[in-house]
Symmetry: C2
Subunit: 156 residues, 2 copies
């Protein structure tokens, strides 16, 4: 088979600006993501290379019932916010979020410079439930679309 | 639950020197590995932070039947060697090895400085078979021990 490699600096910049009506949309405008694992043919887990603009967040604070998540800070400084408070993560730091542990988490860029991390997440087949305790949202039941992306279970 | 974080620079240096009788043991002496995902409670995939001394290899050239593998170069320059030849990977490069693709691969440090990468691999429950086409080894049938590490199926 073909050799599957990619160089992050050659990825087209993929802005992940949400629609204006999304919850706290202003926290996500200007973030940039490269889907590395997908680019090199890996499907059992995802690896995204994400840059957060100053003031931005990685996601709404959340936890997963079924899929493990792991982050590794490449450049800059990020702040992990979880049920235990705020934890500064310098470059070279990692954090883990085991599936099923009700420790809702996200990363915030509280610095004045962009900050970049890798996030790894299992890509299980089938359903997943994600909890967002800070929002007026019930637990979100997700499935995977034909491209393998997580989407809401229809009829929810 | 507790917040699970780790800083790579504070990991105790874990030399992974093989026993002298291992195949090509001299290619692995002096490598250093930190098991990051394990350190922060993640079990569905492994994430190791590995530094190869000049001249060293990441592993024997191999491919997996069941588990995806992904590498991301953090520092220095590595050379991916697979069925298609040698491919230089600068920092910021990644490569993917989908399960079941018979493209045996490994990383070599052909530079004169240490080089560091992250390697992510699925940690499936149950058996796995790994192929080493350059060696006089049959396909290796592996299972997981109580610590979740891959070990030979006994009686092999």
């Amino acid at each position: 088979m073909k050799t599957l490699t990619a160089l992050v600096s050659e990825f087209p910049s993929e802005r992940t600006d949400p629609p204006d009506e999304w919850i706290k949309a202003d926290k996500f405008r200007g973030n940039v993501k490269a889907r590395l694992a997908q680019a090199v043919g890996v499907t059992q887990f995802g690896v995204n290379h994400v840059t957060l603009a100053p003031g931005n967040w990685s996601s709404l604070r959340h936890w997963h019932e079924s899929e493990d998540e792991f982050v590794y800070v490449l450049d800059g400084e990020l702040t992990l916010v979880d049920e235990n408070g705020a934890h500064v993560l310098a470059a070279g730091s990692c954090a883990g979020f085991p599936a099923g542990a009700a420790n809702a988490h996200h990363l915030q860029n509280r610095s004045d410079a962009p900050a970049t991390f890798l996030v790894v997440g299992t890509r299980k087949v089938g359903r997943e439930t994600v909890h967002y305790p800070d929002e007026s949202l019930p637990p979100q039941n997700l499935t995977r679309d034909a491209m393998g992306r997580r989407v809401a279970v229809s009829g929810q």
